[in-house]
Structure formats: structure tokens, C-alpha cells
């Protein structure tokens, strides 16, 4: 592989890891507060649909983004009502949200636009355009550094920069603020938090509110940044990859970024390797596609270090009577 090929694979890696990273951080807030979230996929899908619809109707990507955030938060709150307030099974709530999003987006999309569940093609201001960072043009002539800056770092959608900015912000919030301390505590030992006079329910709702916002960003990325409109089931299991990445990163923000980059890289590689041969043996693309899932299983089994989630995760909190 020459320099330009490597550069373009890395460029694709950044683009492909962005929704994973946003969803992964979304899951991080939820799960750190003790709410298991296998509904990331559904929230992203609902958000992607909302963004696609509103951007198509108004011609504004920003309004689309706003709609994505609103719908994603609403979906999250529905899941929260089931999993936090009604103390239902968090996993089943997630399954229901995934299915509801898949059904409703297909149904409404077909009803409103009659294009087999697709929203109309977006163009111009309906989509986020790539952003050229300052001096990208001027530096592009400089060897090595020039292309890296102008090709790899510059020229991405705004959501890409937001996603990578969200990593240090999350780390700061989690480890340096009172909110973060309480968030971590409520996922580890909700009773202690309750005893300290902090409402477990309120903390968890605040956490999943952030989850909703981040899933909204991730969803919008699919339909109005990377894609030009919503397509049926366009998140295609990325929510579950993000979940795998979250486990792989052991529920920590910085490792989450590296894991998402790794999984994004595998995805980019898989696209590039279609039909490629290594030592005269064709590499099955499926093997690379399955790698994140296999790695997560192996990690969870403790064969390469142990992934231990927040202790109170998955259990609805009930005050003692």
C-alpha cells in the first residue's frame, strides 16, 4: 500500500468511526448510570429518520439535526419510562425500542414519501458539507504533513469534529465534575447515592438524556452527513458494534475512542479488501466483518483482560420500603 492508499483508508476510518463513537459515548453515559442500553440502534435509526424527513421538508440540515435530537431524546425517554420509572427489564425495553424504531421508520417513510421507505434525496443545504480547516489549501503542497492535514484532518463533516471533541468533554465530565462523580456512583452503588440524598431516578434520567442527544447526533450523521437522505434500516447494526466497542473500552471514554477507531478501521479495510488476495488466498470479507463481534466475545470471556461493567447495571433501583 502506498502513502495515498493508507491516507484514504485512514480517512475512511475517521468517517466510519464517527457514528460508532457518538453511539458508544451515548451508551457510556447510560450504562455508567446503571441502565443497560441495547436500544442504541433503535434510537439512532429513529434520529436518522427524523433528520432525513425534516431536512427533506425544510431543506435545512440544521433543522434536521434538531429534529434528530428531539426524536432521539423522546425515544430515550420512552425507554427510560419503561426501564427506570416502571422498573421494567432494561434489556427487553431496548429490544422493544429497536423494533419499534425499525417498524415505525419504515412504515412512516413509505406512507409519507412512497419511495420504499426512503426519504427524498437531499442536496445543498439539506446536508452537512465538509468543512475545510484553516490553511488546508495552503498546506496541501507540503510533503507528508500537507496531505495528512488537508486530506485526513481537514474536510470532514462538522459531526465528525463534534464526535472527537465529545471524548475529552466526556472524560472531563466523568472524572472532574460533581455530576460525573454521581453518575459513576449511581451505576456502581445506587443505594449509597440514594442515602446521600440524591435521587437515583433523576440521575438516571439525566444520564439517558445525554444518551439521547448523542444518539441523535449519530443518527443525523447517517442520513444528513454521510448519506443524502434516510434509507431503510440504514444504521445496519452499527448500534450493536457501538455496544461492543463500549464493552471493549471497558466503559471509559478514551479507550472508547480508540476502540471505535479500530472498529472503523476494520470496516474501512473490509470495504477495500472486497476481492483482495493475500498470499494467493482470498480473504473472506465476512471474517473481517465479524471481527468486532468475535473480539468482544473473547474479551467478555476474559481471555484478553476482563471487561467488568458498572456493578448496578441492568437492575432497576427500588427504594427500601
Amino acid at each position: 500500500m502506498d502513502f495515498n492508499t493508507i491516507l484514504s483508508v485512514l480517512d475512511a476510518t475517521l468517517r466510519l468511526s464517527t457514528p460508532l463513537l457518538l453511539a458508544c459515548l451515548a451508551g457510556l453515559y447510560s450504562e455508567r448510570s446503571g441502565v443497560f442500553d441495547i436500544g442504541l440502534e433503535g434510537k439512532m435509526l429513529a434520529a436518522a429518520f427524523a433528520a432525513g424527513v425534516v431536512a427533506a421538508l425544510t431543506g435545512s440540515a440544521w433543522l434536521g439535526l434538531l429534529a434528530a435530537l428531539a426524536v432521539s431524546v423522546m425515544t430515550t425517554m420512552l425507554q427510560g419510562a419503561a426501564a427506570i420509572t416502571l422498573k421494567g427489564n432494561q434489556l427487553i425495553a431496548g429490544v422493544a425500542i429497536n423494533m419499534l424504531a425499525a417498524g415505525l421508520t419504515t412504515f412512516l417513510g413509505q406512507q409519507w414519501f412512497r419511495q420504499g421507505g426512503r426519504t427524498p434525496q437531499l442536496s445543498g443545504d439539506g446536508r452537512f458539507g465538509p468543512i475545510d480547516l484553516p490553511f488546508a489549501q495552503q498546506l496541501s503542497g507540503v510533503p507528508i504533513i500537507g496531505p495528512i492535514y488537508s486530506e485526513l484532518i481537514s474536510g470532514h463533516y462538522i459531526l465528525v469534529y463534534i464526535a472527537f471533541l465529545a471524548v475529552p468533554v466526556t472524560a472531563y465530565v466523568l472524572y472532574r465534575t460533581r455530576f460525573g462523580l454521581r453518575l459513576r456512583a449511581v451505576g456502581e452503588n445506587p443505594k449509597a447515592v440514594d442515602t446521600a440524598g440524591i435521587s437515583v431516578v433523576k440521575m438516571r434520567y439525566q444520564a439517558i438524556f445525554i444518551t439521547g442527544l448523542l444518539c441523535g447526533l449519530a443518527g443525523a450523521y447517517f442520513s444528513i452527513a454521510q448519506g443524502s437522505g434516510f434509507g431503510n434500516n440504514m444504521t445496519a447494526g452499527k448500534g450493536f458494534i457501538a455496544l461492543a466497542a463500549l464493552i471493549f473500552a471497558k466503559w471509559k471514554p478514551l479507550p472508547a475512542m480508540f476502540t471505535c477507531l479500530l472498529f472503523g478501521f476494520l470496516d474501512a479495510l473490509q470495504i477495500r479488501l472486497q476481492g483482495a488476495r493475500l498470499f494467493d488466498v482470498e480473504i473472506p470479507v465476512q471474517a473481517i466483518q465479524a471481527l468486532p463481534y468475535v473480539l468482544t466475545v473473547v474479551l467478555l470471556a476474559g481471555f484478553i483482560g476482563k471487561a467488568v461493567g458498572p456493578k448496578a447495571g441492568g437492575v432497576p433501583y427500588t427504594k427500601e420500603r
Partner: protein
């Protein structure tokens, strides 16, 4: 106020699920209404589409067969306190077992092929359930996450197998060769004319046997007792000398094997070859079926029939009301899972309160209040 008492059994197993189902239908009806269609016409079209003729009933029973297996798979795991959402992957991989056996034995007789295929499906599906079970029992990884991952791994594996291994020469799509006529599971239409040209086949007998088998196994055997004890209280189970890790592995293997039976119905009975994603989203419907049916074979039988009817009726919907199709059913299904599974607490307190109004204790209490006065 006196503490709420648990619901009587009949309310818990029948009334509550029905209320939740009614709510799911109501919300779906509102969605249909919101889009400008008449929900009653839609329901009518679904019912006619599911039961209107022998042909329609045949299709309903074919879907119900799949859902019985998928529902039982979720239920068996649930009795042990495990949530198996890997039914899809287990059914998918089981298809591999069915097709290998069926293609090897296809020229003999279906009476030979069918039992061998059932065994192979149980073996392959059971194996795909056993690994997550083993990983939870021995390595402490959460069975839910592992089964999700195994669904995706199964998908990748099967795409590879269909494209590279099973695809016969001269076929362009990712699918296996056809099973010869002699090796296929006979359709019920061969014995019963109204079912002509419908996919319902002898696998439905297997489904009925599975329902009875699971009932006996869970409630009338030592294994079933141990399973339920573990599901209720793993600590108590350990003190009672039950090996939790062994039970987890057995339960997950059995669950996977049951999910694998879907492949027998689909591959040997209907498609007669292995195709991509032949199992659809059967694993997830299984969750809804098990929740609706309260993990009991009788409940599961009714719930599977209901979902079979919804599926078949949903297919017919598009021919009656233009614009409405199967996705309405996916919404209903999701709402059933939401209301019956995750929002189970929605109606329970209200129902408990309502039923208490009719209980003798409540009456006595009310009489006492009335005689002593409001301050007492």
C-alpha cells in the same frame, strides 16, 4: 392504605397480557389512524387475511409453527433466568445442519431425512446456544451480549457458507442446491385439501410435540425443577446442590436447539434450500410470543397463533388497503414487547387495586371504616 396484594393467578396469566395486548393494538390503531387509514378496516383485513379461507389458515399455521419454536426457545431460557435474544442466530446456523443432512440423504426417503434433519438442527442450533451458555457459566460473560454478538457472527458465517461453500455451480445468488422431492417434509395440503398450495407442513406436529415436551420437562422433571429454582433464586439453587453452571449450559443448549427447529420448518418444509436470512426476525418475534404467553406452553401456543395470524394477515393487508403492509405488524409486535415485557408495571398496580375492591378483606375493611368513621 393496606399493601397491594399479588394478582390472582387468572389475572396474572390471562387478564394482564390481554390488557397489554389491547394497549398495543390501540397504539398501533392510533398510528394507522394518524396516517389517515381506518384502523378497524385494517384489523378486519388482517383477520380475513389470516383466517378467511383454508389457504389463509394454512399460511397462518406455517408462521405459527416457527413462532412456537422461537417462543419456546425464549421461554426455556427464561425459566432459568436467562434472556436468550440469539434465537435468530441459532435458527440460522441450524439451517446449515438441516441442509447438509438433507442434501446427503435426499434420495432416500423423507421419513429418514426428517429425523436426521431434526437432530442436525438441534445439534447446530444447540451448539450456537451452548457457547454463550458456556461463556456465561464458566467465564462470567453476560448471555445477552454474547447472544447479540453471536447473531452477527452467525450472519457473517452463513453469508460466507452460502457464497463460497454451499452455492452450486451455475447458480448466481447466495443459496444452496434444492433438496430433491423425495427428501422434503410433506406439506399438510397433501393430506388435507383446504391447505393446498400453502407452506404448512408436518413440522407443525413437531411443534405440538415440542409444546407438550417443554411442559413436561419444565414442570414434571427434576431438570425442570432445578431450572426453575435457578431462575427464581440462583443462590438458593446453589445451596440446594444444583450446579448453576451446568444448568445454564443445559438451558442455553436446549433453547438453541428449540430455536433450531425453525430451520426444519423453513428449510426442509418450505424453502427446500438454504437462502440468506431465511429465518427473518423469528428470534425477536419469539421474545414477544414468550412474553405474551407468560413462558407457558399453552400461552405460547395461543401467542404463536396470534402472531402467525398477524403475520399472515399483515401480508394480505397490502392487497386490501393500498399503502398498508406488513410493517404495521412489526409495530404491533414491538409494542407487545414494550407493553408486555418492559412496561409490565404499567397496569399491574392499577389492576391490583381494582381487584382488591372486590376482595372480601377490602369489603370488611370498608365496613370497619364506615362504622368507626373517617378519623378512625
Amino acid at each position: 392504605m393496606s399493601a397491594l396484594r399479588p394478582l390472582p393467578r387468572w389475572a396474572d396469566i390471562a387478564l394482564l397480557p390481554l390488557l397489554n395486548l389491547a394497549l398495543a393494538f390501540l397504539v398501533s390503531g392510533l398510528v394507522v389512524l394518524g396516517i389517515g387509514h381506518n384502523p378497524f378496516m385494517a384489523i378486519g383485513a388482517i383477520i380475513t387475511g389470516a383466517f378467511g379461507s383454508g389457504y389463509n389458515i394454512g399460511y397462518t399455521l406455517y408462521y405459527a409453527t416457527n413462532f412456537v419454536f422461537a417462543g419456546l426457545a425464549v421461554a426455556v431460557a427464561a425459566h432459568g433466568g436467562l434472556f436468550n435474544i440469539g434465537g435468530n442466530g441459532q435458527a440460522y446456523v441450524a439451517g446449515l445442519g438441516v441442509i447438509v443432512v438433507a442434501l446427503a440423504l435426499q434420495d432416500t426417503h423423507w421419513l429418514l431425512v426428517a429425523p436426521a434433519a431434526v437432530l442436525a438442527a438441534a445439534l447446530f442450533g444447540g451448539f450456537w446456544g451452548f457457547i454463550p451458555g458456556w461463556l456465561q457459566a464458566k467465564r462470567g460473560s453476560h448471555v445477552v451480549i454474547t447472544t447479540i454478538m453471536f447473531n452477527f457472527i452467525a450472519s457473517a458465517l452463513m453469508i460466507y457458507m452460502l457464497n463460497r461453500v454451499l452455492k452450486p455451480a451455475g447458480v448466481s445468488g447466495p443459496e444452496s442446491a434444492m433438496i430433491a422431492e423425495t427428501g422434503r417434509m410433506p406439506k399438510l395440503g397433501q393430506f388435507f385439501a383446504p391447505f393446498n398450495y400453502t407452506p404448512v407442513n408436518l413440522t407443525i406436529i413437531l411443534a405440538i410435540l415440542a409444546l407438550v415436551g417443554v411442559y413436561v420437562l419444565v414442570w414434571h422433571t427434576r431438570f425442570g425443577y432445578a431450572l426453575r429454582v435457578m431462575g427464581q433464586n440462583p443462590t438458593a439453587a446453589r445451596y440446594a446442590g444444583i450446579s448453576n453452571s451446568r444448568m445454564i449450559m443445559l438451558a442455553m443448549t436446549l433453547s438453541g436447539a428449540l430455536a433450531g427447529m425453525v430451520a426444519v420448518n423453513e428449510v426442509l418444509g418450505v424453502q427446500n434450500r438454504l437462502v440468506l436470512d431465511f429465518m427473518g426476525d423469528v428470534g425477536f418475534v419469539g421474545i414477544a410470543v414468550a412474553l405474551m404467553g407468560r413462558n407457558h406452553p399453552v400461552g405460547i401456543a395461543f401467542a404463536a397463533l396470534l402472531f402467525g395470524a398477524l403475520y399472515q394477515g399483515g401480508n394480505e393487508l397490502q392487497y386490501v388497503i393500498s399503502g398498508l403492509d406488513r410493517t404495521v405488524v412489526v409495530i404491533i409486535q414491538a409494542l407487545v414487547i414494550l407493553f408486555t415485557g418492559a412496561m409490565e408495571g404499567l397496569f399491574r398496580p392499577g389492576l391490583q387495586r381494582t381487584l382488591m375492591l372486590f376482595s372480601p378483606e377490602q369489603k370488611a375493611e370498608a365496613v370497619a371504616r364506615a362504622t368507626v368513621g373517617p378519623e378512625g
